[in-house]
Amino acid sequence: MKCILWASILTFFSVSALFGQELTGEDIIQKVNDLLTVESSHSKSKMTIVTTSGEKRTFVMESWSKDNGEKNLVRYQEPRRVKDQAVLMLNQADDIWMYFPRTQRVRKLATHAKKQKMQGSDFSYEDMGSGDAFITDYTPRRLEDEKMEDHDCYKVELTRKEESDMSYSRMILWVIKENFVPVVIDYYDDKDPDRWIKRLIESDIRKIDGIWTAMKVVMQNKNDNTQTEMELLEVEYNVPLNDSMFTERGLKK
C-alpha cells in the first residue's frame, strides 16, 4: 500500500518513449509507478538525523526488497544500541513485524504504528514501506510544469482517496522530465490538506544496473525544523532473494 521512500529512492525509467508527449497526471504517476516494479533489490544505507539543535545521529541499515516492493526487510547494523533490530514489512507494509534481539521477541505492529518515527528520524515506518500507494491511494492531477532543483519537472498533485488510510492528505511531486525521478515531494497534514509538513529532496541521481537511482534523499520536517538524510552506500537490483528471508525465521536471523 505504501511507497513513499523507496518509491523515491529506487526510481527508474526508460527515457526515450515519453519525450514529446503531452502527459496527464495519471500518465506521469503511472509511469513512475510502473518503473518502481523492480523485482528485487538489496541495499545498504546510512541514515543521519539532524535535530533542531544541530545534533546528529547516524544509523546504518541493510535492506532487501522482493516482489516489486511487496516484501521488505530492514536490518540495523549500527549503532550498537540497535544492532540486529529488524523490521519485516509484507503486503506492501500492511503487515509489519519488529524483531528485538536483546529480548529475542518478535512483535506484530498494527497499521497505526506506521505513523511512528523510525528511530527518532523524520521518516515514519509508513514512509519506509513499499508498494504502489501513488496509484492505489491517491488521485493525481497535473499542475503547471516547474523547474525544481535545477531540473525541468512535471508537477503533479496527489490527493488522498476517501477510502485510503495513508497519513498524508495530499502530496505534490516534482518529477524530472528527463528520467521521471520525483526529485522533490511535499507532504501535507493528515487532517489539514493546506498544512505542509514535510519535504523530500532527492539528489545524486545515478543509473545503476540500468535503473535511475537517487543515492541521497533528505526528508525535511517543517513542523519540528529537523531533517533526516538517507544515503545509499551500496545498491544492487534484481538479485536472487529467497522467500524464506521474508518470514519470521528470516527476521530473526
Binding site: 538525523i49 535535530t51 533542531t52 545534533e55 545521529r57 547516524t58 549503532p79 550498537r80 544500541r81 544492532k83 503487515d95 528485538f100 536483546r102 529480548t103 529475542q104 521477541r105 512483535r107 506484530k108 505492529l109 498494527a110 497499521t111 497505526h112 504504528a113 505513523k115 511512528q116 518515527k117 527518532g120 528520524s121 488510510d165 497519513s167 493528515d190 487532517k191 519540528d224 529537523t226 522467500d243 524464506s244 521474508f246 518470514t247 519470521e248 525465521r249 536471523k253
Partner: protein, 396 residues
C-alpha cells in the same frame, strides 16, 4: 573467582580483536542504576552496576554461536526484609525465630547467561544450549510463558537464558512449529513445549502445550536440609494460545493459558491488550490481566501469595489487573510517559511517570518513579514502597 572472570573477559577481548576479521563479534553494554524506595518513612537505596559482554560467531552461514556473560555488583542496601512491606495480620503469623529468613539479598553475581549454538538446516533450525525463551503476545504478562516473569515496572528488560534444545520448523512462509525441551534431573522433571504458529488475515495466532515442574515454595515451612523454605514442586501442564494483530485500526493482542495442576487447584490466566498511535505521535496502550491463582479479595492474600510474588514465582498477587501506558516523544530523543498499574480486585493503584532519553547514539538514560495509592494490605499499597529508578546504559 573475580580475578578469573576478569581474566576471561580480557582474554576474550584480545581474542575477539584478533579474530574480528574472521567473523567473531564482541559487543554488549554497561549499565549503572540507582533504585530507591521509601519504607517506613525512610529512603532506602541500592546501586547496581552491570557489565554484559556478548559474543557472536558465525563459522558458516548455517551455524551461529552466541553467548553472553553478565557481571553484576550491588551496593547500598543489599538486603531487603520483605516483612516490612506486609501488613501486621500477615507478619504476626510468622514465628519469632523465622522472621530473619524473609530477606531478599542483592548479591554480586557473575554468570554465563546465554551460550548456544544454532544450526540452520534447509527445513528447520536447531538451537542447543542456554538461550532466551520468549513466549506469548502479552506486553507485561505472559500466561503461556512458564519460564519467565517480567518486571511489571520494566517489562521489556531482557530475560535470563534457559538450558534447552529448541527445534523450529517453518511451515510455508507464514507459520511454523516449535518444539522445546528444557532438561532437568530426569525426563519427568524436564520442561517440554510444543507450539504451532500460523497467520490469519490481520492476525498471528499460536497454540501451545507445555509440561513443566513448577518449583513453588511454602514460605511458612523451613527446610533444614536445604536451609531454605520448603520447596513444593508440582507438575503443571499448560494449554493455551495467543493472537496478535489489528482490529478497527487498533493494535490488539490476547493470550490465554489454562494450567492443569497435579495436586493443587487448576487455574487460568488471560491477557487482553490494545494500543494505538495518534497522528501527533502519542502512543497509548492498555493491557488487562486475570490470574485465577490469585485472590480477588485482598483480605485473603496470604504470606505465600506475597512471597511468591516478591520472589517471582507467581505473576501477581491480585486476581484482576490493568496496565496502562501513555507515551509521547517530546523531542527526537526524549520520551515522557505515564504508566499505571491498577489492581481492579483491591482498588489499589501505582502511578509511574517515565522518562527515556537517547542521550547519544550508544547511551540511553531512563528513569521512572512509582507512587502507590492503595490501602494497607492491597497489591499497590503505600506500605509496599513508593520509589524510583534511574539507569544509564552505554552500548559498545
Amino acid at each position: 573467582m573475580r580475578t578469573r572472570f576478569v581474566l576471561i573477559l580480557l582474554s576474550l577481548m584480545v581474542t575477539a580483536r584478533s579474530h574480528a576479521q574472521s567473523g567473531l563479534e564482541l559487543f554488549g553494554y554497561f549499565e549503572s542504576q540507582i533504585m530507591g524506595a521509601v519504607i517506613e518513612d525512610r529512603l532506602n537505596q541500592v546501586f547496581m552496576n552491570k557489565l554484559r559482554v556478548d559474543l557472536n560467531y558465525d563459522p558458516s552461514d548455517r551455524i551461529t554461536f552466541a553467548a553472553n556473560f553478565d557481571y553484576i555488583t550491588y551496593h547500598g542496601k543489599t538486603e531487603w526484609n520483605i516483612l516490612q512491606f506486609l501488613v501486621p495480620n500477615i507478619t504476626e503469623t510468622i514465628p519469632e525465630d523465622m522472621t530473619g529468613f524473609y530477606v531478599i539479598p542483592f548479591s554480586d553475581r557473575h554468570f554465563l547467561d546465554n551460550a548456544y549454538i544454532k544450526f540452520v538446516f534447509r527445513r528447520f533450525d536447531l538451537t542447543v544450549g542456554k538461550q532466551q525463551i520468549s513466549l506469548g503476545s502479552g506486553y507485561v504478562w505472559n500466561p503461556t510463558d512458564v519460564f519467565n516473569i517480567k518486571d511489571v515496572l520494566d517489562p521489556t528488560y531482557e530475560q535470563p537464558g534457559h538450558n534447552a534444545l529448541r527445534l523450529d520448523v517453518p511451515l510455508g512462509n507464514s507459520g511454523g512449529v516449535t518444539a522445546l525441551y528444557s532438561p532437568e534431573d530426569t525426563w519427568k522433571q524436564s520442561s517440554k513445549l510444543i507450539q504451532l504458529k500460523m497467520r490469519i488475515p490481520r492476525f498471528d495466532v499460536s497454540f501451545i502445550a507445555i509440561e513443566t515442574l513448577w518449583r513453588f515454595h511454602d514460605y511458612t515451612e523451613f527446610d533444614e536440609d536445604t536451609f531454605g523454605f520448603l520447596e513444593q514442586p508440582e507438575k503443571r501442564r499448560v494449554l493455551g494460545g495467543s493472537l496478535e494483530g489489528e482490529l478497527f485500526g487498533l493494535g490488539l493482542w490476547s493470550e490465554y493459558g489454562h494450567s492443569l495442576m497435579r495436586k493443587s487447584k487448576d487455574f487460568y490466566e488471560l491477557v487482553v491488550g490494545m494500543n494505538y498511535t495518534f497522528d501527533f505521535q502519542t502512543f497509548v496502550m492498555m493491557e488487562y490481566y486475570r490470574n485465577t491463582l490469585a485472590e480477588s479479595d485482598y483480605r485473603q492474600y496470604t504470606l505465600d501469595d506475597w512471597m511468591r510474588y516478591f520472589t517471582a514465582e507467581q505473576k501477581a498477587v491480585s486476581r484482576d489487573q490493568l496496565y496502562t501506558l501513555i507515551q509521547h516523544p517530546v523531542t527526537d530523543f526524549i520520551e515522557l510517559g505515564m504508566m499505571s498499574i491498577i489492581s481492579i480486585s483491591d482498588g489499589s493503584v501505582a502511578l509511574v511517570p517515565t522518562f527515556n532519553w537517547s542521550f547519544s547514539e550508544n547511551l540511553d538514560i531512563m528513569a521512572y518513579a512509582n507512587v502507590n495509592f492503595g490501602k494497607d494490605g492491597t497489591a499497590f499499597s503505600k506500605m509496599t514502597g513508593s520509589g524510583a529508578l534511574i539507569r544509564a546504559r552505554v552500548y559498545f
